[in-house]
């Protein structure tokens, strides 16, 4: 018995157009914050967008933003790796996971603010946050290890991150006022 087969519509016409302007502006803000090499910003953003648009055409991306941040972060790492390779001859070898060279100075003030804020953090929150960010443990893993529930673990991380960011912003404001 012949069966009529459904035609698959791949045109996706019902989905509104992606606001690429907003995506570009967001990615630029991210890249600008992460590197002090201004010449890199444009390149990284353009390449990220090109890849996003191409991917999205091939197969509708579930999350343009999540994918975009990932591509941009990877590209930044690639650029800095390349920089390090070229500069190796003139500089003392960096440990493989040393901070990116161009961020060292810019980050000094930030580092002091972060260290102070981490000091002020309740020990449990600091412990949860360190496991998640430094050891890359999953929330479920942390919940199991510390006998907490998952919601509590998430709360510690989100509160912790928001607090750290506030500390960095305050430090930046203070630094700018002083100059």
């Amino acid at each position: 018995m012949p069966v009529s087969l459904p035609q698959i519509d791949e045109s996706d016409t019902d989905v509104p157009d992606q606001d690429w302007e907003a995506v570009a502006a967001t990615l630029a803000r991210y890249v600008r914050t992460r590197t002090s090499r201004h010449d890199l910003v444009e390149d990284v953003v353009q390449e990220t967008l090109a890849r996003l648009v191409q991917q999205n055409r091939q197969q509708k991306l579930v999350s343009v933003y999540a994918f975009g941040f990932r591509i941009a972060a990877n590209l930044l790492v690639d650029h800095h790796r390349r920089d390090r390779r070229y500069s190796n001859e003139t500089e003392i070898d960096h440990a493989s996971d040393a901070p990116l060279p161009d961020r060292v100075i810019a980050g000094r003030q930030e580092l002091a603010a972060l260290t102070a804020a981490l000091d002020a953090m309740p020990p449990l929150r600091r412990n949860v946050f360190t496991r998640r960010r430094l050891q890359g443990q999953s929330c479920a893993g942390i919940a199991r290890d510390l006998a907490l529930n998952l919601k509590a673990v998430e709360k510690h991380i989100t509160r912790g991150l928001a607090d750290l960011h506030r500390a960095v912003m305050l430090a930046n404001d203070a630094g700018n006022d002083g100059r």
Binding site: Y30, R144, H165
Partner: protein
């Protein structure tokens, strides 16, 4: 809570949620909706994301971890010895007991093996207890055992793509029939095409392939090999891949690339996505070599493609699809 703090907390929640190798699809769609809603959302998320990724944060956390508070620090050895000698054994016993208890707490649930199944046409991706990611194709069954000293996965049937968390001291083995793939920290695909036939392709890093014989073969990024019974055959790298090796196998997007593969193997793949049973009416047909790029996640399209290319007669019966050599061909 002010609107601003609310946005900051939401943004931080997304930073945390998105920081994992695989994000489930419903969550990431919600993320885009949240981002598209307001420029304040986008800015706050971006700043928090940049902070989360920053080297300054890594450095600050490292310093904090290196100079811990009094409660969880082993005291400096020289200065502290005299004062704490009398109390030390008690501390050590307590610490050891805690460590053992914590270890039991962590390890016990994972000692037994876990079976993951994906139904026909429904691939799924899973995260194992060690953080490794596995994408299962349709009609696939995978049994996984993560022990403190070793990790083993058994592909009972079907096809799976592994992205294995690198752990120097804990091996990861995948068994498919008599074939064993030993992982050296990497991403690779194992396709159990039938009971005695397994295909392996490496996308990152390297694996050692053991077909039950004494020797084994190391496959590196881009390498592909097939084990039929206990014989290993290496294959040329995928010609369509070009200079850049893809990050994931084709099938995770529903495709199968075949070069002189028996029809039965292609059919087995399509079967992973077809609710109807696919039957070859002529047993010899199973050996017919087929080549091409097939969208196996769409069985009807595959049938259309092979009908013309290989002169086959394809019939849709109530619960089955019947494939036979076409009558035209038999007549001539």
């Amino acid at each position: 809570m002010t609107r601003e703090t609310q946005i900051a907390e939401d943004a931080a929640l997304w930073v945390n949620r998105l920081d994992q190798p695989a994000i489930d699809t419903s969550a990431s769609r919600a993320f885009d909706t949240w981002m598209a809603a307001d420029v304040a959302h986008r800015d706050k998320f971006t700043d928090l994301q940049a902070l989360w990724h920053s080297d300054a944060l890594t450095e600050a956390l490292r310093q904090a971890a290196a100079t811990p508070g009094v409660s969880d620090a082993p005291m400096g050895l020289i200065g502290a010895t005299r004062h704490t000698r009398s109390r030390r054994p008690v501390v050590w016993v307590a610490a050891t007991a805690c460590a053992v208890l914590a270890a039991l707490f962590v390890l016990l649930p994972s000692l037994s093996s876990i079976t993951y199944r994906a139904g026909i046409g429904n691939g799924r991706s899973v995260v194992l207890a060690d953080g490794s990611h596995v994408a299962l194709s349709g009609n696939t069954e995978l049994r996984v055992r993560v022990l403190p000293w070793r990790r083993t996965a058994t592909l009972v049937r079907g096809e799976a793509f592994f992205d294995v968390a690198h752990e120097r001291w804990r091996s990861f083995h995948v068994h498919s029939g008599e074939t064993t793939v030993a992982v050296l920290g990497t991403a690779f695909n194992v396709d159990r095409q039938n009971a005695t036939r397994t295909a392996v392709e490496v996308y990152r890093g390297a694996v050692a392939l053991d077909a039950g014989q004494s020797d084994h073969l190391v496959l590196r990024k881009g390498d592909r090999a097939r084990v039929v019974n206990d014989r290993i055959t290496t294959q040329a790298p995928d010609p369509t891949a070009g200079a850049i090796v893809a990050a994931r196998p084709d099938w995770t997007a529903g495709w199968f690339e075949a070069t002189d593969v028996p029809l039965s193997v292609l059919i087995a793949k399509v079967q992973r996505h077809s609710a109807r049973t696919i039957l070859l009416r002529d047993a010899a047909l199973g050996a017919l070599p087929v080549s091409g790029r097939f969208r196996v996640s769409d069985p009807a399209r595959v049938f259309d493609a092979i009908r013309d290319a290989y002169a086959l007669d394809i019939r849709y019966d109530r619960g089955a699809v019947l494939i036979a050599p076409s009558r035209d061909r038999q007549g001539t």
